[in-house]
Amino acid sequence: MTTDRTEDPMSTTFTCVHGPTSTQLFVRLATLLNDFNPAHYDLEFAQSVGLPGVIAPGTLLQGWLLADVEAQIGGAAVGASPHRVREIDLRLRASFGPGDLVEITYERDGDRLTATALLAEGSRGTAGTPVATATIVLGDLLVER
């Protein structure tokens, strides 16, 4: 899986493309989050509850949001401070599965970003399908050392 970003620190809009995803990634995340919902790795179960197939966990999108903001807003290279993310409000619109690519477009207005995630070209699913929306609020975490 790869991540492509258009990075311009002066821009108020930037786009990141993640994927293609895989069942291996879903299982790896399940382990790292102790979230073994079989909808994320068991095809028979996923179909039994009406899903089109195995689906990615929503927390994958959440992680991409954090990584994208880190890469674009800064803080990765210096590392002197924690991430400047105070709030993430993620609303999942449609599922995506193995082989899909997700394109996330961010629009920044001061310390607030809105993100729109769509299936990208080359996905197994229909390109342009809305996957999720998110609002991200930036700010410094309280640190006492």
Binding site: G63, A71, P82, L141, E144
Partner: protein, 149 residues
């Protein structure tokens, strides 16, 4: 986000610790490069006890109780996995250090969405993490869609 003035009762509570290896591996898988989250030496040099847990990995904190699961009877979730998370809203207040024990309190909040033909009920659960120093570090709200039979 709910405040101290309008809280529902705590339905479940427990302790949790996120192993530093898990935090570093999660950062690697997601492509997070800030060394405070990937390098224990950098984190300690910055005054932290160990690497920081990537904020979005704190979803892991919802796994409390016996066998790593939130007591489903207590929080009103159905048995089994006939449910999917449809919304994750998280407020990050303080960094969470890996390897440190934190307390998780689970509350059930009024459902934000009416049922549909496919979804029997939307559950809204709040997980409040209190760090080893007694400070609330994170509040996480999960909206969970329970599928109709």
């Amino acid at each position: 986000m709910t405040t101290d003035d309008d809280r529902s009762p705590v339905l479940a509570a427990g302790l949790n610790v996120i192993d530093p290896w898990l935090a570093v591996e999660y950062a690697r898988v997601l492509g997070i490069e800030n060394p405070l989250y990937t390098d224990e030496h950098a984190a300690r040099a910055a005054g932290f006890r160990d690497v920081l847990v990537p904020e979005t990995q704190l979803f892991l904190a919802s796994r409390v109780g016996e066998a790593g699961e939130a007591p489903r009877d207590a929080v009103g979730l159905p048995e089994g996995y006939n449910a999917v998370v449809t919304g994750i809203r998280t407020e990050y207040l303080r960094p969470v250090e890996a390897g440190q024990t934190f307390t998780v309190r689970v509350r059930r909040l009024p459902s934000p969405v009416a049922p549909t033909k496919r979804v029997r009920e939307f559950h809204l659960l709040q997980y409040e993490l209190t760090d080893v120093d007694g400070h609330v570090a994170t509040r996480l709200e999960l909206t969970i869609a329970e599928f109709a039979a």
